[in-house]
Symmetry: C2
Subunit: 281 residues, 2 copies
């Protein structure tokens, strides 16, 4: 791989850039503002950084869209006429069905394959970027019926090179799964903070490490997550309804006359399940 173009130097774009440069690959970064392009150069994130899409994608073998998902279709429309022949495009959006449908239509003849690396942080921006952000994480690659098999293979090997285990899912299956393990937990963490601030704000003065970790994702970017959550509304509605149902079961458990055994079984089962998961370090 000779040159990779990264469009949008945030946490993910910046981390991809660092990981690629550590592997000796030429990185070109596109930023909307000249100030961000300058920062990318000064911070050692790129071999080249510019606000000119044409310059950044020239001779690139892979173009990675790392902007918020709302900005992707507009950027794709500017990009499509500038792409070198054979260039493969991917993205890092947290929602796939709407993104893949929109971008596949725009790129038409070009080779677009959606991706979602399950890595990140509640922090945002290049300053939080790390070369090892992807190491040991899962990256979901989401081809559809229109995808070129060679492009899918290239995108998969791109993420493997950065340290990910790659799994393929359809865009729709991706959204159903990720609603459960990422989007809904984000909404739940924000809801927990909100509920406590309404019911008993004084309790928030006593938080320990459990609360710190349980609610960490609630410190994520509101703008970024508004876009993500509302692009996956149907799946989120299902998760929310299922959680309401689960909490009603908890109420029944708490109200039962001899709850010890039931509570112990419930906690044992949840612990066993969680302990069995392959989680990033």
């Amino acid at each position: 791989m000779n040159k990779v173009a990264i469009l949008g130097p945030g946490l993910l774009g910046g981390s991809i850039a660092l990981a690629l440069r550590a592997r000796g690959i030429f990185v070109s970064i596109w930023a909307r503002r000249q100030g961000s392009a300058d920062e990318a150069m000064e911070g050692g994130f790129a071999d080249e950084a510019s606000t000119s899409l044409a310059q950044v994608v020239r001779e690139a073998e892979i173009v990675v869209l790392c902007t918020p998902i709302e900005a992707m279709p507009g950027l794709a429309r500017e990009l499509v006429a500038l792409l070198p022949a054979g260039c493969v495009i991917t993205d890092v959006g947290s929602v796939k069905a709407t993104v893949v449908t929109a971008l596949t239509a725009i790129f038409e003849q070009a080779y677009f394959v959606g991706s979602h690396p399950m890595a990140g942080s509640e922090q945002t921006g290049m300053k939080a970027a790390r070369a090892d952000l992807f190491s040991g994480t899962v990256c979901i690659v989401t081809p559809n019926a229109d995808s070129n098999p060679a492009a899918v293979a290239l995108v998969s090997s791109f993420w493997e090179m950065l340290g990910c285990s790659v799994r393929e899912l359809t865009p729709e299956m991706h959204d159903a799964h990720v609603a459960m393990i990422s989007h809904f937990p984000h909404l739940l963490a924000a809801s927990l903070v909100d509920m406590i601030s309404e019911q008993n704000p004084a309790a928030l003065e006593f938080c320990g490490p459990g609360f710190r970790d349980t609610t960490r994702v609630a410190s994520g970017s509101p703008a970024l997550w508004t876009g993500i959550l509302l692009s996956n509304r149907d799946a989120l509605r299902k998760s929310t309804e299922a959680m309401i149902e689960k909490l009603r079961e908890i109420l029944t458990l708490l109200d039962s006359q001899y709850p010890d055994q039931v509570m112990h079984e419930f906690l044992t089962q949840s612990k066993a399940l969680r302990d069995s998961l392959r989680l990033p370090r």
Copy 2:
């Protein structure tokens, strides 16, 4: 402080022991089984370790009960006749109203003051202990009308010495607050794992760092947490009902025709709240 007796060498007892020894204080550990007492000695947790309560508490200035809360009343009844004059007793139980009422009645003339350091881990046992577990955390001290002021002051300075900020609450207020920021979040994390395993177990193969942190506490000890949760049932019932109500509001938000602004405000408010909290590193 010349000698501290620690009853029960688990994660908390072991961490207190390490922190005290690092400060040059003589630590005596009581364990129910000889094997644990031997481990405590071999692991460098204690200057003295024994299955004899009489030996361990002899000449102790402070006795710290570090067993699961269910075991505390039985242990207290054995202990009460063995205490040196003027010795102060505290505990590390995560629930306070029931514990403080039971132990105050048992200790009568002796100086008991309840404590709850907001520190811990999903791991258990001496092996997970760390000398700096309490550094930068909050410890809630819970005197009641029967508490001796000098004993309260001694217990507070004991926790401050270990690196905690000490706050006083009544046992009842403690339980109401801690239900919100610790007990209910534990139940919520276990419920999230359980809900996903019922609705979409395949999604659990794709978990990233967000899910890892959101559900970390669900890997805690089922036996320990059954005792804690069921000792604080009334407060947990309130938190669970309030969370069901909050998730119903989320459904309304998701179903609204123009949810962007409302979602953005909701996430912005939760983020601002969480970012304003003093959390342990």
